[in-house]
Symmetry: C2
Subunit: 343 residues, 2 copies
């Protein structure tokens, strides 16, 4: 298994990304990580990490990097030797099995679509986001790639989310919910109402509408929504989790007994932080492409990068795309309206 | 000032609602609360609360109640003597100044629209939701009344949110943000991109797109979005805040030192809970109507009801609807596209 890592992307610089690669190969004896970026800088970073380039960590030189704020399509056109562009080119050539990047996620998606193309039957590749819940995890799709969607696209997100949940969460017949503003099928906007009808006849284990509060309950495995709503949810959740911890910290710092109490409860807080830490969830896969890509938060630490590489391995090893194609064929056989091209 | 309270709605029954009314009149010497519902039950509840019906707490008998799960429009048609329907009828007749309800929010909105009608120039009345932030509060509109919107509707939500923020948050020239998935004006779905253009020329203090995480930062006073996205955000936030406290509680209960620590930090936790408690924010106003209504969470406690009555008083006292009309006229003069009828 060979995983390419964009070793220049993200907010924290190559050191952290290289450290993630070192952790990943240590965890997984059959994996080789191909670092993409400036050969000299990466060789130096590997040296400092005490793991010189060798058998299972390789460097492929790429002279350009796409910045976090660059416009995706323009950037991949202007920078043919950018790390992510090189990564997906290697994937297309069969020289790696997947690409992982913590860089500009729009540019990563754009490069993936251009180099790999869409999986047959998929109208809109998307980004799947993983949330912690009271009982495990839930995957939401799409969380940002497709802001204006048709019902058939959302059904395809459901199929892709199921394939992911089967492979990464080890769920049999994952429960699929449609994000709406009431549990009854008649509630929601026009897009959701039409999608509800399609999902009922999709062959998926569709449990109906779910509300925003149900994301965290653990009663659903896959949540379907358009990429605008999904991205807003993701960022609301990140923002709120941060602000709750900030407010709690402010209140605790106001008194000595509270500060002592916080010390005593330190391990409980650490365990809690681990449960809600995005780094535990290993990035967000790009699904619906002729190949496998995983994007990571720009602020990812080494553990998050290593976990993302692990998710990429699992998706490749369990042939996520074959699973998507099989479920999609079954859904489209039941209802031609699920074909995005026809919808 | 006379405020009608639907004293039968909500999940907790009349006792809690009556207790809220008692708190409200104690806090505000010029206020009379008119309790709507079963006269005998309400008189008994008042007696038990030690505040028999009299000068400043009146009862108006209403024989019907709309259940939390009833379909709004059908319910208000089938139950002409329902508490909320009677409330808005009293408002139309000038016998009360505002209506507060913790009952079925869809039915409350439907009764309000039918009895009062829309404010001139407003295409879509909506529900404003208040969130705590690191620095105070923010109002988001719409949080559930209008699931499919046009750009002009969102601009009107911005105007209404500003009037609310001026009166209730005491903000001069409230900062208005458009909820999107990137800060640049070009980011978002089709609705958001078109709304961005209109808001730039609205005369409002428009600061541009904001992201989900910015809701809680305190850097914006009014957040504009369609009612589907707004309702999802509200419920994601409620669900996540609960799950974070649940997870933290689970971790703390696992060890004795953590339990002791939690005791020591008890007051800090209590202050934190007060900061994020929806009961502090006094309900969600219905804006854009010929009159004033405030809806409360079905689970509202007495304090939440009293605070909602306080918000209703403030909105009436400061003539929120005159303020909305003035800002709307100014915005529509600048750009005829802001007229919802024309858009």
């Amino acid at each position: 298994m060979r995983i390419a890592l964009d070793a220049m992307g993200g907010d924290r610089g190559p050191e952290v990304l290289v450290a993630g690669a070192v952790q990943a190969v240590a965890a997984s004896p059959a994996t080789t990580v191909v670092l993409l970026g400036d050969r000299q800088r990466l060789a130096a970073a590997l040296g400092r990490a005490g793991a010189p380039a060798g058998d299972r960590i390789e460097i492929v030189h790429a002279s350009e990097v796409i910045g976090m704020d660059e416009a995706p399509f323009e950037a991949i056109r202007r920078k043919p030797d950018a790390t992510v562009v090189r990564g997906f080119a290697l994937l297309r050539e069969g020289r790696v099995d997947a690409v992982v990047s913590a860089g500009n996620s729009g540019a990563t998606m754009a490069a993936a679509v251009r180099c790999l193309g869409r999986l047959a039957g998929i109208s809109r590749p998307g980004i799947a986001g993983v949330y912690p819940t009271l009982k495990g995890h839930v995957v939401m799709m799409d969380v940002g790639a497709n802001v204006d969607c048709r019902p058939a696209h959302l059904v395809q997100f459901g199929v892709m989310g199921c394939a992911f949940a089967e492979i990464v969460f080890h769920r049999q017949r994952p429960r699929v919910g449609l994000l709406s503003i009431g549990e009854e099928g008649g509630k929601g906007n026009t897009l959701v109402k039409k999608t509800h009808e399609l999902l009922q006849n999709s062959g998926l284990n569709y449990i109906g509408n779910v509300e925003g509060r149900d994301i965290f309950s653990g009663e659903v495995d896959v949540i379907v929504c358009d990429g605008f709503v999904g991205n807003v949810c993701l960022k609301v959740s990140e923002g709120l989790a941060e602000v709750i911890l900030t407010m709690l910290g402010e209140e605790i710092r106001k008194s000595l007994p509270a500060r002592i109490g916080y010390r005593l409860a330190g391990r409980a807080f650490a365990r809690f932080r681990k449960r809600v830490d995005y780094a535990e969830y290993g990035g967000a896969p790009l699904l619906g492409l002729n190949g496998t890509g995983v994007i990571c938060h720009g602020r990812s630490n080494a553990k998050a990068i290593a976990n993302a590489i692990g998710v990429a391995e699992e998706l490749v090893a369990h042939r996520v795309n074959d699973r998507i194609s099989a479920m999609l064929a079954s859904a489209q056989e039941r209802s031609p309206a699920m074909d995005g091209a026809a919808a």
